[in-house]
Symmetry: C2
Subunit: 520 residues, 2 copies
């Protein structure tokens, strides 16, 4: 739902014949690769055979008035803008605004934006404005040339996203997700105007990233030798996403959730049997007291940051288990020396601060961290730290209070607590995703809330169900993140969602039914 | 888990080379088509590249002792049986028993059964006994001929199902399910030794069956003209399932759940506006007072029964809504005349008794009905009536008490209450499916409990997710229905289930993860 949309008349429309319709780029847009790629993709995708009769505009056929024929869509710059801002890579401050004008006399459809990102978002909007009027199948006699007929209403649209950070996090460590699914997942993100793919690349269970610095990680701790992501595959994902205006932010979760990195020598904490006071062979979180640990992490970050070009990097920092640290006598001595004996939160903070230094100074990245880092008082600089709120899943008062605390402390933040799509309930469970608003009370400095991320943790998800589990449930969160707060009527959204599911299916995404009986 | 299985020694095994292994049919089995089809299918499917190392028998490599090489599996008759009972169509009393003997000296594997159904079930068992020992990938040098190596342990198995009715119900009316999914669904049923495909063919929402007697039904009340099942498609499903020993039982649900049949004249009840006492244009359940209704139903049953060859027919009978009947003055008068004024349960019973007469006398079928028919006291003959218990979903005391009541009244029954797989919960929700036992207390005449059916109602399921939602969750119910009650250890079952999911995936079934992080 765009920011501003006005139909002068509900029933006037321009007819479009699929075979005769073209997307025309103004000359000053023609050198922009991502616009050309998007225009080519949408040339096919503008026309969606919308089969659900209750949604079909030709049900109003008696009232619809054809007022002309539209032959092309013009992509151009807004008045007064001389050159398209054509960026190769999307970024946190990219401009996704665009305008659309469809007018009757003469028949004309124009999509304007000062940036390639705006053009891409606008093309998706146009594809959602075009409706089917009649099909070959329904009217074989009338359509003896075998063409499909579509329509578009005169409209004025001014649009820009409400939130700049509209993400989807995919965990590829609990189950491996193949590129056969990640690529369509990214397509579907674009169809929902999401713009951040947060890649939770590694975790305790597996390390599927093929590191050249530490090749043993994926060799020994991927699930299988072939269930890994090589550098060229990672690069492919990043570039493919970039063409859609989707940033790819990797996560290397430390100091916890790092058990799959245990084959890097002198990185993880060696746990002790508390009775015998000898090493028990197990490993805990990264050992913050060892210089070797920081060196190894720095090496991995260097490697990851040479691939992942985004200015932001997700450093994790959640759910650190102190038991192994507590068991380790070297760590205890180190803590005594530092006068923080027994204060394991402060030990975590020490690690996080050094990591922050490496990431921000050494790698010039902004560091995204899960909320525990803030909660434990790591006290990082707000100017290059973003706090990712995820706790109190589905408990609105809890996560909104946390968002308020985080932003009051001067941090930018993103919210995921209400968008844990791995948790499933029978029926229309998307409704709660739709009703969640990251800028609600008691948050005061709402601009500090950059947006949110849908989370898909994959304990119970793999290639067999990842797309159908995410889509179209994620569409509910995606509209919340793009559209104005006023777009909140559930009954209106049900229809958009139902139609959008069918649109996703027509584009090859296995979006599951979410509204009850029906069909596409 | 077979009824009886004994390994003389856990570590002895016979080696099998995939390329050199054959399934040999004794001459007296060679004329049985379904055995030949199954043997050909299993020739490929015996060898499952089991990649989950925690399940892999070669983890015990140090202990495993190769005691010879097995070159073939012999399919034969049990001692003393002269001729294979080769039935074209599976039926309620079919014999699925089989024995397996794998012996070391000389290396020999024999699958014996007196029937083709037993051979088919036994082949699935053999495929689950064979384990991978090493792969080309793991041992490229050793396996320079590119072969895969498998093993099988010496074993004695005597097996037969605990329940004769082991079903899966699929609703194809809330969403259409294409044959592209129904065919693999039937394959997967065979891989889980299920033997009844209960096809909930029609409902209020749609009538996808192409009737020749009433062609308007699928023309006007299928979701789309192409979302229908033609007779040749239905026949194909029935024959395909028959080859696997799976019966196909159709359901024509009446007198409720029949709104999609409203275009048959004088069938459904015309509803009245109670204030104006005039028809409001809506329709309710079948009108039991009209002779035309029985004639139409009889015609449809004739058509259906000429296709669906099973002796049993599911006639529905659930959730009859009395409001429309109450509003209709003709029905009220009729009920006054019959001295049952205001007793709508008795009106239902009247309909059901006439339907029972048509089905059992006219069509020589046994009538399966949902439990309401019993609950309302239709008082049908137990000898050709089976009561399908479905209420009190997940409330054990409720449905077990109902099973007791039904069987105490002399009826055979099947249970579904605990196997509504359309309802989903996060995590290992299959555990409750596994723990459900249809022959528990307070059922006295346990032999009257024929088995159970997994139900997949499709309000929130269509082609995008039907296979991944059913499998492998349905495997938990399937083992309960096949195996002895003693097979109930959850931790042992977790491993079988995990391995079976991977086996299903290797056979092309998108079985979703159900046990947490891992891979196939």
């Amino acid at each position: 739902m765009p920011k501003y949309m006005h139909h002068s008349n509900e029933f006037d429309y321009l007819e479009i014949r699929e075979s005769e319709f073209t997307i025309h780029l103004d000359p000053n847009l023609e050198n922009c690769l991502s616009i050309k790629v998007a225009a080519r993709k949408y040339q096919d995708q503008l026309f969606f055979d919308d089969v659900a009769p209750e949604l079909k505009d030709d049900d109003k056929a008696g009232k619809l008035r054809k007022r002309g024929t539209l032959k092309r869509l013009i992509l151009t710059l807004p008045t007064g803008v001389q050159n398209i801002k054509c960026e190769l890579l999307p970024h946190a401050k990219m401009d996704e605004a665009y305008n659309v004008t469809v007018s009757l006399d003469p028949p004309k459809a124009v999509l304007m934006s000062a940036t390639n990102w705006g053009i891409i978002r606008g093309l998706e909007t146009i594809s959602q404005l075009i409706f089917q009027t009649k099909t070959k199948k329904n009217n074989p006699a009338e359509n003896d040339d075998g063409d499909n007929f579509f329509g578009i209403r005169p409209v004025e649209i001014e649009d820009a996203p409400r939130f700049t950070h509209r993400g989807l996090m995919l965990d590829t460590a609990r189950h491996y997700i193949s590129l056969d699914k990640i690529i369509p997942l990214i397509d579907a993100m674009a169809y929902n105007k999401l713009n951040v793919f947060h890649w939770h690349l590694t975790d305790d269970q597996s390390f599927p990233f093929e590191s050249e610095v530490f090749p043993q990680l994926s060799k020994l701790n991927s699930f299988r030798p072939e269930l890994t992501y090589g550098k060229s595959e990672v690069r492919m994902v990043i570039l493919y996403a970039a063409l859609w205006g989707i940033r790819v932010i990797p996560e290397l979760d430390t100091p916890g959730h790092s058990y799959s990195m245990r084959h890097i020598p002198n990185l993880l904490t060696e746990c002790y049997d508390t009775k015998t006071e000898s090493k028990n062979g197990d490993f805990g979180p990264i050992n913050p007291t060892k210089a070797t640990a920081y060196k190894a992490v720095d090496s991995l970050l260097t490697e990851l940051n040479s691939l992942f070009v985004d200015k932001e990097f997700h450093a994790g920092g959640d759910e650190v288990d102190f038991d192994c640290w507590k068991s380790n006598p070297e760590i205890s001595r180190w803590m005594v020396d530092r006068n923080i004996s027994g204060n394991y939160e402060e030990l975590t903070n020490y690690y996080i601060r050094r990591l922050h230094h490496i990431l921000t100074r050494g790698h010039n990245r902004t560091m995204i961290v899960w909320q525990e880092v803030f909660d434990m008082g790591a006290n990082l600089s707000p100017k290059n730290t973003i706090v990712h709120v995820w706790k109190d899943i589905n408990h609105k008062h809890g996560y909104m209070a946390e968002l308020a605390k985080v932003t009051d402390a001067g941090y930018h933040s993103i919210l995921s607590s209400c968008w844990y799509l791995n948790y499933i309930d029978y029926g229309r469970d998307w409704q709660k995703f739709y009703e969640c608003d990251p800028r609600g009370k008691p948050v005061k400095d709402v601009d500090k809330v950059l947006g949110g991320e849908i989370c898909m943790w994959t304990e119970f998800v793999d290639d067999t169900n990842v797309l159908s589990r995410i889509w179209p449930r994620a569409s509910a969160a995606a509209e919340r993140l793009w559209s104005q707060m006023q777009a909140s009527n559930i009954e209106e959204f049900v229809h958009r969602l139902e139609q959008h599911r069918c649109r996703l299916i027509s584009r090859g995404i296995d979006a599951e039914p979410v509204n009850g009986p029906g069909y596409c």
